[in-house]
């Protein structure tokens, strides 16, 4: 399955970026084939509101079926849920660690936004 992981860098050993809307990169990884691609999120770094919505659209366009990130606000949550994308929230991990934990079934799906709507 294709999963999007928010990241601070473009490689597998990069630390995850725990923000979803303003993550620096999305790593799109295929858990079966091992392929991965780094998609920069530059449009959103300075965006005003709605960064989470934009990020959700980006990962949906990439065909991701799941997202691993640190925090998700209500608008991003709503958009991901509408796109049928599963959301996993984790603490500080590297991209590789996050993928491994997902493959081992150690992550749980989040059913609500975990942070309030914010303009940050």
């Amino acid at each position: 399955m294709k999963v999007a992981i928010t990241s601070t860098g473009t490689t597998k050993d990069a630390q995850m970026d725990l923000r979803f809307g303003r993550a620096q990169y999305f790593i799109i990884a295929d858990t079966q084939t091992g392929e991965f691609e780094a998609v920069p999120n530059s449009q959103n770094l300075n965006a005003a509101q709605g960064a989470g919505i934009q990020s959700a659209q980006t990962v949906a366009k990439q065909g991701a079926e799941a997202v691993i990130t640190g925090h998700v606000g209500p608008k991003a949550f709503r958009t991901l849920a509408a796109a049928g994308i599963k959301i996993y929230l984790v603490d500080n991990l590297t991209v590789e660690e996050a993928i491994e934990r997902l493959k081992k079934g150690e992550l749980t799906i989040t059913s609500t936004a975990d942070v309030e709507s914010h303009w940050a």
Binding site: A47, A48, Q49, G50, A51, I53, Q54, A56, Q57, A60, K75, R78, T79, A82, A83
Partner: protein, 285 residues
């Protein structure tokens, strides 16, 4: 005639001047409270409200059957109010500014215009005074449409006094624009001067005639007076700090009731403004 009362800094006495000026005038007057986030004139005037109208803004509505997820709406939207997904679009009404771009651009005619409420306008009377106030719904961000809705009640046959919000940004502009005259209320302190300079910049940008009222005129120093002199700005009135006025204000009572001399001063202030406005309109016509 339309006279707006504004200030850069909050709490300088806009509402005090607005309501007391309105009640000091003999001619038919309407008071329009455009501080729609925190309208306060009603506290002093205790109006009888006889009409409440909702203020709505346009928002898109999607017909999912027609939507093919092309994303053109989302691309156009400058406010991120639309999220285009595979075969549908999500609408975030709270981000929408009502520009209509999305439903105009949709090639499938899947988006249509509907509306949502952001506040109300209440109209009525307070004795002889016509009264209109706007009230933004808590949690809403679009104050400007509510302010425009209040100003739709301007009666060009009367004297209209507009109580503007504090500051210098969009809602204030919406309240004061197209006024015949703006009264900037300030206080003789560091904050008062700092914010007066910003307010003066604003009215000059809008090319509106204006003058200054210094409230609590004896609690500070000369910096505001010096600034006005240097900038050739009319100081229309100085109201000294008076505990009677502060206490009356706290109770929701009119200042002119406890300090009757103020009524005369406000009438004179109005005459001065009125004269200036007539002169200007004679010059331009």
């Amino acid at each position: 005639m339309i006279i707006s009362i504004a200030s850069g800094k909050g709490g300088t006495g806009k509402t005090t001047v607005s309501v007391n000026l309105a009640l000091s005038l003999a001619e038919p007057v309407q008071l329009l409270d455009c501080d729609v986030e925190e309208p306060n004139c009603h506290v002093f005037l205790e109006p009888v409200i006889n009409q409440v109208n909702k203020v709505t803004v346009p928002v898109p509505r999607v017909d999912s059957q027609r939507c093919n997820g092309c994303g053109k709406c989302s691309e156009l939207c400058q406010f991120n109010a639309l999220a285009a997904l595979k075969d549908s679009v999500l609408i975030f009404e709270e981000l929408c500014h009502g520009c209509s771009g999305c439903w105009l651009v949709c090639p499938e005619k899947a988006l249509t215009e509907t509306s949502r409420e952001v506040g109300v306008v209440e109209t009525g009377t307070a004795d002889e005074l016509g009264f209109t106030q706007g009230r933004l719904q808590i949690g809403q961000v679009l104050a400007v449409p509510v302010i425009h809705a209040v100003k739709n009640h301007i009666n060009f046959e009367q004297i209209n006094i507009i109580d503007a919000p504090p500051g210098t940004s969009c809602p204030v502009i919406a309240a004061v624009q197209n006024s015949d005259y703006v009264i900037l209320v300030t206080e003789p302190t560091a904050f008062g001067l700092n914010d007066l300079i910003l307010a003066v910049e604003m009215v000059r940008k809008l090319k509106l005639s204006f003058g200054v009222v210094i409230n609590q005129a004896d609690i500070g120093d000369q910096r505001v007076r010096e600034y006005c002199q240097n900038e050739n700005i009319d100081i229309l009135l100085e109201i000294p700090h008076d505990r009677r006025i502060a206490e009356a204000y706290s109770r929701g009572q009119m200042a002119i009731e406890v300090v009757p001399e103020l009524r005369t001063k406000l009438t004179e202030l109005f005459e001065s403004i009125s004269g200036q406005v007539k002169k200007k309109s004679d010059r331009t016509s």
